[in-house]
């Protein structure tokens, strides 16, 4: 981990305004912000760990636990809400037997709800990893997950 972090740190100035970009890159690299990673960032930026947690927990993007291999995000924006996004989420919760925000015990899948991906014209929308799936219905969503099992 130390080497990966060092590579990220080298791209940034050692100043407060780098904090969020550094957190983003670390999370992108490691999947989440581990206590060890936060400690390293604190050392690099000369900001206390508690202050970094203060910033990081403010933003919805940051997570502090290990995500699943496949990150599933169900959109519950306005257009998805009006077109039944909640039904997709419920189906996923049933299918994976976890609640939104959770991860399966084998770390294969994690499930999140998000506010909007901006693909509203194709609502309801679900994102698996980096792939955006539009015009979802519960059965199609289930098939996508089953194909990954």
């Amino acid at each position: 981990m130390a080497q990966e972090l060092e590579a990220i740190f080298q791209k940034h100035k050692r100043e407060r305004s780098s904090l969020i970009s550094v957190l983003q890159e670390v999370q992108y690299k490691l999947g989440y912000l581990s206590p060890e990673a936060i400690a390293e960032i604190a050392r690099f930026l000369k900001i206390s760990e508690s202050e970094i947690y203060g910033v990081a927990t403010f933003y919805a993007q940051f997570r502090f636990t290990r995500p699943g291999e496949h990150e599933i995000k169900v959109c519950l924006g306005t257009a998805c809400h009006v077109r039944g996004g909640e039904r997709i989420l419920e189906e996923m919760e049933r299918e994976l037997d976890i609640q939104a925000g959770g991860v399966t015990p084998d770390y294969k899948f994690s499930l999140e709800k998000v506010a909007c991906f901006g693909s509203c014209a194709l609502a309801p929308v679900m994102v698996v990893g980096k792939e955006v799936h539009g015009r979802m219905d519960p059965n199609r969503a289930k098939k996508i997950i089953r194909a990954l099992r």
Partner: protein
């Protein structure tokens, strides 16, 4: 004139490249691969196109373009045969795409049966012109002028179509005249508040301080809105050129683009575009020999709606929690790192470049006095033609929803249109003939907002929609000021009770009172506008609230706790379709035996209602339907087969 000389080689190269593309002896194939296109399957279509051209041994240029706005019939594939107009094909699948390529490019059959429209040129073979289609006819493309036409990854395409000539024109004028030009155009802030852009620039120009910043707000956080994403994905340079012009007019040396991280493709496109500008000498020191020095940096938002508020956004750029602070001092005097800062929305910057290119008078000829120009909207929800649209200000809601959007899906009744996202309001059918401008929307209790326009039909419960928005603003409230922090929580709590059928008579007065307190007492616009969805639904759809509270009934049969599903014995064919589809297996029955829903275990997911081919599933609220308690033989007459 020095700048023009320095720019000339870029322009020459751009024109040569563009002309080469237009006059090529090889066919050109375009695939729309913006995020929405990809969600509809554009990537697979693109691969099929590559595969087909390879298999057929065709020499063709393949270009990925941004979104032209016809999201409801994506993926789109366009083909330009040398010397022929560009034909657009909609609803493509990999198979269809390969077929069209083979038929048109090998057999010279343009497949009018599959074609949507001719993009540039006259109608032919019965294929209509694109801008004669009902969705596009009322539209005017000013901000979206290049989306779907150019390769957004190629700065020379942008330059060939007039790009950066607005910046050159600005450089030939004193900064004050550029600001006057912006004032004359009548452009108002497209982020939603509608403050005159030229005036805003002037405040910042006149502010004391030698270091000044400009910011592009691309933190498009309104759920239901994607105008800014489409523009950044489809034509990033139009926005960045606007920022260059702003930097010159205001005297800023550094600029930031704050783009939400949920838009990875837009982030990629901006990163690449900045890099290209640097390579072309359009950023850095002494740009084009003009003496202007300007640098641009990209910052990614980290998922906080409140960061759309300018002071919160600046706190976030500085690496802090994105919490707003009181104004004054306004950012024009004390913004980023307490330096004078000017912040505008993506669409405002996108308009800036064309205003300087074509002139203020040209721009002001669109729209209506006081509300000049166009506005982009993401038209979504229950309309037939969902997508990204750009219309002159002053069109009525009816024109937008019915003429452009094609009315409501399935011929259902229109109920409301929600503008302005969580800060806006829900407007009823009686206001459909109001023109869309900053003032009329505000008078109706909503706001223009950045341009989300979500339509709801008779199946949408307005109390539930208000609850949805409050659950959003409650989550996104930063917690700094009590009116917003406590107010959103209390409002949500009351609305949840009402939608569960536990509302009380005094709830409506309480909602009104909390809403007023939030409007008057909140620190920033997030809290000050958060009650709008509740207050407008109370104003226009009070009967729905009363039905929930007094009759324990949801008129739209949408609120789960107040809704039941029944299988009608006189319609059920005993076909097992719903029984198999039910995700919780709460339907019993057998072949040719009437099915029964176990009310205790039903999760009201509505799957049975959607899959039943015989309309035998009923969703009701406030009344029970008599159904058999045991599975009895089917009595309904068999469905008529064949066309009737």
């Amino acid at each position: 004139m020095k700048a023009e000389e320095a720019f000339a080689p870029l322009k020459q190269r751009a024109l040569a490249e563009w002309q080469g593309l237009q006059e090529s002896s090889r066919p050109l194939i375009l695939v729309g691969t913006a995020t929405c296109g990809q969600a509809a399957g554009a990537q697979a279509v693109l691969e099929a196109v590559r595969e087909a051209t390879g298999r057929l041994g065709l020499e063709a240029d393949i270009m990925e373009v941004g979104c032209i706005g016809l999201c409801y019939i994506e993926p789109l594939l366009d083909i330009v045969k040398p010397g022929r107009p560009r034909i657009s094909y909609s609803n493509m699948t990999p198979k269809l795409a390969a077929q069209v390529i083979e038929d048109y490019l090998v057999r010279d059959n343009p497949r009018p049966d599959l074609a949507l429209a001719i993009v540039d040129g006259e109608a032919m073979d019965g294929i209509p012109r694109l801008f004669d289609l009902p969705m596009l006819k009322p539209q005017v493309r000013i901000v979206l002028r290049n989306c779907g036409y150019i390769d957004p990854k190629n700065i020379y395409h942008y330059i060939a179509r007039g790009g950066y000539s607005g910046f050159l024109r600005a450089l030939s004028m004193p900064p004050k005249e550029v600001i006057d030009e912006m004032k004359k155009s009548g452009l108002r802030g497209r982020g939603g508040a509608g403050f005159p852009t030229g005036q805003k620039w002037e405040f910042c120009r006149n502010a004391l301080g030698d270091e000044k910043y400009i910011i592009c707000n691309a933190d498009e956080g309104d759920p239901g809105a994607f105008m800014n994403r489409s523009l950044l994905e489809g034509d990033p340079h139009s926005v960045l050129e606007g920022m260059l012009i702003g930097a010159y007019a205001i005297g800023a040396s550094e600029g930031y683009i704050y783009c939400r991280a949920e838009y990875p493709l837009a982030v990629d496109r901006i990163t690449l575009a900045i890099h290209q500008m640097e390579e072309c000498g359009l950023l850095g020191d002494d740009i084009l020999g003009s003496g202007l020095s300007f640098r641009l940096k990209l910052r990614q938002g980290a998922g906080a709606f409140v960061c759309g508020e300018e002071t919160a956004l600046m706190a976030s750029v500085e690496g802090r929690r994105g919490m707003p602070r009181p104004k004054p001092p306004f950012p024009a005097n004390s913004g980023l790192w307490a330096k004078p800062t000017n912040i505008n929305n993506v669409e405002t910057w996108g308009n800036t470049s064309i205003i300087l290119q074509k002139g203020a008078d040209w721009y002001a000829s669109f729209g209506v006095p006081g509300n000049t120009g166009t506005k982009t909207f993401s038209l979504v929800g229950k309309v037939v033609r969902t997508g990204l649209i750009e219309v002159p200000l002053g069109l009525t809601l009816r024109q937008i929803i019915y003429d452009v959007g094609g009315g409501i899906v399935g011929g259902k009744a229109f109920k409301a249109v929600q503008t302005g996202g969580p800060s806006g309001g829900c407007l009823p059918a009686s206001l459909l003939d109001r023109p869309v401008n900053y003032e009329t929307l505000a008078a109706a209790g909503s706001i223009m907002g950045s341009g989300g326009m979500v339509t709801a039909d008779e199946d949408t419960c307005m109390v539930d929609l208000a609850r949805f928005f409050l659950s959003f603003t409650y989550r996104e409230s930063c917690g700094k000021c009590p009116p917003c922090r406590v107010g959103t929580r209390q409002m949500l709590h009351i609305l949840e009770r009402i939608t569960r059928g536990q509302g009380e008579a005094q709830d409506l007065d309480h909602l009104q009172e909390i809403g007023q307190t939030m409007i008057q007492g909140s620190l920033c616009a997030l809290g000050g506008t958060a009650p709008n969805p509740v207050l407008t639904t109370l104003r226009y759809f009070r009967d729905e609230y009363e039905a929930h509270i007094l009759e324990r009934r949801c008129p739209a049969a949408a609120c789960k706790e107040l809704t039941q599903y029944y299988i009608l014995a006189d319609k059920c064919q005993g076909c097992l379709i719903c029984l198999r589809a039910c995700p919780v297996q709460c339907i019993r029955g057998d072949k040719r035996l009437v099915h029964i829903i176990d009310q205790e275990r039903c999760t009201k997911c509505s799957t049975c209602l959607q899959v039943c081919p015989f309309d035998a599933v009923a969703r009701v609220s406030g009344k029970a339907i008599e159904v058999p308690s045991e599975t009895i033989p089917v009595t309904a007459p068999p469905p008529r087969r064949g066309g009737g």
